[in-house]
């Protein structure tokens, strides 16, 4: 017995030590995101120091006087785009998700729709910009307008809303539906009164994430808007527009250093909207997972 034990060297101490190093490395890797986030926020805050004032929110952009420039037109453009995208993509996306989960049978067409949505979610956002340019701006002659931009963003975030809503609807137990059917409710009555309310927190998480993506995207708007210095607030759906990320891009890409401070200030404003939205989405999901009744 003792002879075999001494012949076999398990090197346990060494293997465990190696394991601890590896665990530490993995822990460090998973902290890299947080570290990067802190450096990024710190850098942006530092560079925007002294440039973020009330004027910055209430003045129009200027190509000549950086100290007087603001992002009023970009803020209003983003608000318009948010309203259009929310108004179009949310009902269409949720309805599509309800159809796929509650109505669709396993037909060939429905399988194609499902596969198609997964692939659409991976199409680069700038390609959506080319789609919007071809369909909304040119074919439907909406020109370089807010509505063309808003519809393009709607198509972009539609897969996000559909995928999240489907997951939320699928998580509602079958017994909810069976109980409603047993009492004589029709399919639509069941969905309206039971399935959708039960799935609402999950759907909301998806919707908030989708809308925050829409606010932050510049790429799909570039082929559509094509201009970044707009010195008026859009008054209607057919007006030309700019948006916060477009304005930030334009300022970042300028050679003059003053404009980089403006870009940093713009980023702070944008993140002041986006980070709370994302935190809210994550919070809604966490809250729902803790309190759900099934």
């Amino acid at each position: 017995m003792s002879a075999t034990a001494s012949m076999f060297d398990a090197r346990v101490a060494r293997r465990m030590r190696l394991g601890r190093w590896f665990a530490a490395l993995c822990a460090f890797f998973s902290a890299i995101g947080l570290i990067f986030l802190c450096i990024l926020l710190g850098r942006v805050a530092y560079q925007s120091w002294g440039w973020l004032s009330i004027h910055f929110l209430t003045e129009f952009p200027s190509t000549i006087y950086p100290e007087k420039a603001g992002m009023k037109s970009a803020i209003w453009g983003s608000i318009w785009l948010l309203v259009i995208t929310g108004g179009v993509a949310v009902p269409v996306g949720v309805a599509a998700a309800v159809y796929l989960e509650e109505y669709a049978k396993q037909t060939r067409l429905n399988r194609i729709i499902e596969l198609n949505i997964a692939n659409l979610a991976g199409v680069p956002s700038i390609v959506y910009g080319l789609l919007g340019l071809g369909v909304f701006v040119r074919a439907l002659t909406l020109n370089r307008s807010l509505i063309a931009g808003g519809l393009t963003l709607s198509l972009l975030v539609l897969p996000v809303i559909i995928i999240a809503s489907r997951e939320a609807i699928r998580a509602v137990p079958r017994s909810f539906r069976l109980a409603a059917f047993a009492l004589g409710a029709t399919r639509w009555q069941t969905i309206r009164a039971h399935t959708l309310p039960a799935a609402l927190p999950g759907i909301m998480t998806g919707v908030i994430l989708a809308l925050s993506r829409a606010i932050g995207e510049a790429a799909p708007l570039i082929p559509i808007s094509a201009i970044t210095y707009i010195t008026f607030v859009p008054r209607g759906l057919s007006d030309p527009f700019t948006a916060m990320p477009l304005q930030i891009y334009a300022w970042s890409d300028t050679a003059q250093v003053e404009f980089h401070h403006l870009a940093a200030a713009g980023i702070l404003v944008l993140l002041a909207v986006l980070l709370p939205m994302n935190a809210l989405a994550i919070g809604v999901r966490a809250w729902h997972q803790r309190r759900k009744a099934w």
């Binding site: 993995c26 009902p91 729709i113 029709t186 995207e217």
Partner: protein, 298 residues
């Protein structure tokens, strides 16, 4: 009687409307393919497909004009490859830590941070690349780094795709049955050996899918690349030079003075089609691998 007919009518209408909404996604794909193909067709009547695909010079705005897409593809793949080289070890390490080592409470903190990272707009990463990574990290470390360079873009795009790799891999690692781990522990394997020799190989298809999906994202990444990588189309492997990319050229042409409808302007659709096809291949492969691996464990 009247009421039940009304209910039946409502039921039918709702179903039709909901189907129409689901069909919007089909129309979107048809629209993308249709627009890209149609507009590229007008481009390819003036420039041969061969000249476009095999040409080694991209100069649509200069005389003589050159429409070789290879320099753009080269730049795009260089940034995608660099981003992956950074994001794969970090993302996979994070996924291993989350699924194999981290306590549930730590996990509950780390996962949302990854999601926050994924929620930061691309243009912000671009700003950070050009006004921090290049001047304060790359240029002091590597003298001769140009103001616009592929490396800074690759670094920030790498950070952008970490969440994709980490979360898809994490799902795959967690789908590995507990019994496999316990069997390995029973023959006195250490946690490291269990993670790397049992769990990781069992989840390999999920990791492969994560890499494919993340690479597709990196290829299609636009704003960060347009800001940081430069606008110098060239066939090079030096990441510290200014280059040009597929997405960058679309941005440049869209914002430039080129009149809409000219051949130079039509390049955005030909380049867009190229980009769409490349990302489609990687996305489709990723999806296929994902569904296959789901079948194995359910």
């Amino acid at each position: 009687m009247m009421r039940s007919r009304w209910v039946a009518l409502q039921e039918g209408a709702v179903k039709v409307i909901f189907f129409a909404c689901a069909a919007v996604s089909l129309a979107t794909t048809a629209g993308i393919v249709g627009i890209l193909a149609w507009e590229s067709f007008t481009f390819f009547r003036h420039v041969s497909v061969w000249e476009f695909l095999a040409g080694t010079e991209w100069a649509p705005n200069f005389d003589p004009r050159k429409f070789g897409v290879l320099p753009l593809v080269c730049g795009t793949f260089m940034i995608g490859g660099g981003a992956l080289a950074l994001a794969l070890p970090v993302g996979l390490g994070s996924a291993l830590f989350l699924s194999e080592y981290a306590h549930a409470s730590l996990r509950a903190v780390l996962k949302p941070i990854l999601e926050l990272l994924a929620g930061i707009p691309s243009v912000v990463y671009g700003f950070f690349a050009i006004h921090f990574v290049t001047p304060y990290v790359l240029q002091p470390l590597i003298p001769g780094t140009e103001i616009f360079n592929a490396a800074s873009a690759a670094i920030v795009v790498g950070v952008m795709i970490i969440p994709t790799i980490a979360s898809v891999s994490d799902d795959a690692l967690r789908a590995v049955p507990r019994s496999l781990r316990e069997a390995a522990y029973a023959v006195s394997a250490t946690p490291l050996e269990v993670s790397t020799r049992v769990v990781l190989p069992a989840a390999m298809s999920g990791v492969v899918a994560a890499v494919l999906l993340a690479f597709a994202r990196a290829i299609g990444e636009t704003m960060a690349v347009a800001l940081a990588a430069g606008q110098t189309p060239k066939l090079t492997l030096n990441p510290f030079e200014s280059i040009h990319t597929l997405t960058g050229s679309i941005v440049q042409m869209s914002l430039g003075d080129t009149p809409a409808g000219s051949i130079e302007y039509q390049t955005i659709f030909a380049v867009g089609l190229t980009l769409f096809l490349i990302t489609f291949v990687f996305n489709y492969a990723g999806q296929r691998v994902l569904t296959r691996f789901r079948e194995v464990y359910e």
